[in-house]
Symmetry: C2
Subunit: 204 residues, 2 copies
Amino acid sequence: MNPTDPEPRPRGSYAKGVARRQEILERAREVFAERGAKRTSLRAIASEVGVTHAALTHYFSSLDELLVAVYEESKQHDDHGPDGPESNTTPAEAMRVSAHENRAVPGLVQLYSTLVASALEDDNSAAHEWATTRFERLRDELTARVERLQASGVLRQDVEARLVAALVIAASDGLQTQWLLDPSVDHEAALAMLDRLLAGPNGS
Amino acid sequence: MNPTDPEPRPRGSYAKGVARRQEILERAREVFAERGAKRTSLRAIASEVGVTHAALTHYFSSLDELLVAVYEESKQHDDHGPDGPESNTTPAEAMRVSAHENRAVPGLVQLYSTLVASALEDDNSAAHEWATTRFERLRDELTARVERLQASGVLRQDVEARLVAALVIAASDGLQTQWLLDPSVDHEAALAMLDRLLAGPNGS
């Protein structure tokens, strides 16, 4: 773009704002990857990111809002795994792959736990909105996947798809917590076992 | 005791200290049952409990230490359910009963989530020590239970007892989180389904 173009000011400001927000977010992501998700304040993060408290709160009105943005920015893939919701990967295997990838990003798993805890502590937080929406979407996706795999005989048909979806998500989250506290807990083997328990006549 | 008894001072002080700690803990338990587990400071809690900050920190050196004590004080039963670790109740059913009882105590489930999140955020916290010990003990107890029920044919024998224990605890915790965010998630039905998946030739 030619700098003399009569670009309307509001639009330019908006574009600059988006770029600035992204810049701050990127730096916040790095700060969190280094320091972990240990509870802190927006003021302390502003100082670590190298912006004023006013600048940070201009883009992120609460700590939770910033943490949600950092989490989403840090995630490499969607929650349903890299294979997309239409794949025939079993639900436990999809969660296993997704969890495996998340563990490769420093601090991401801890940040996830922090956000879920914030969600449970405060019904009015940005984290509550994020977590409620995320679990709902994930259950819907996995339910559809389970129903498809039940129809093709990969998964057994004597279980309710919606309960299977909730169970698999719960198992993956809960095993991840136990693994974070004690790395001898075999998150992946336990999910693989759940997959075998759910297998139908054409399953593995 | 006769007040003129030459009771050695340290012992009397110790007994008084224990009673005072219990009194503060009991009041803190009531405060948390009313206000929920929303993140706060020891200073704010001292004011709500009606003691000085110095008095509170004399008995509880950190917020986490107080929260762990409040949680343990609030629990009605052991984690393995009211039937004791020797019973033949299946592991998922035992977790279901225990979770059901915990939900009857206002704020207890939220407090549990807060403590687990603190444990993940800070390896040096009282919550980390508490959570690590709790999960270890619970896995050991449930592993022994699963092995016993496998031997008697109530549970299937083609699964590793230690993985089953970790999976059942994870499922119960994770389902509770989803239920807290969305009460339409049927925690109990999902655990009952897991029990059916784990049933052996003599199981339900």
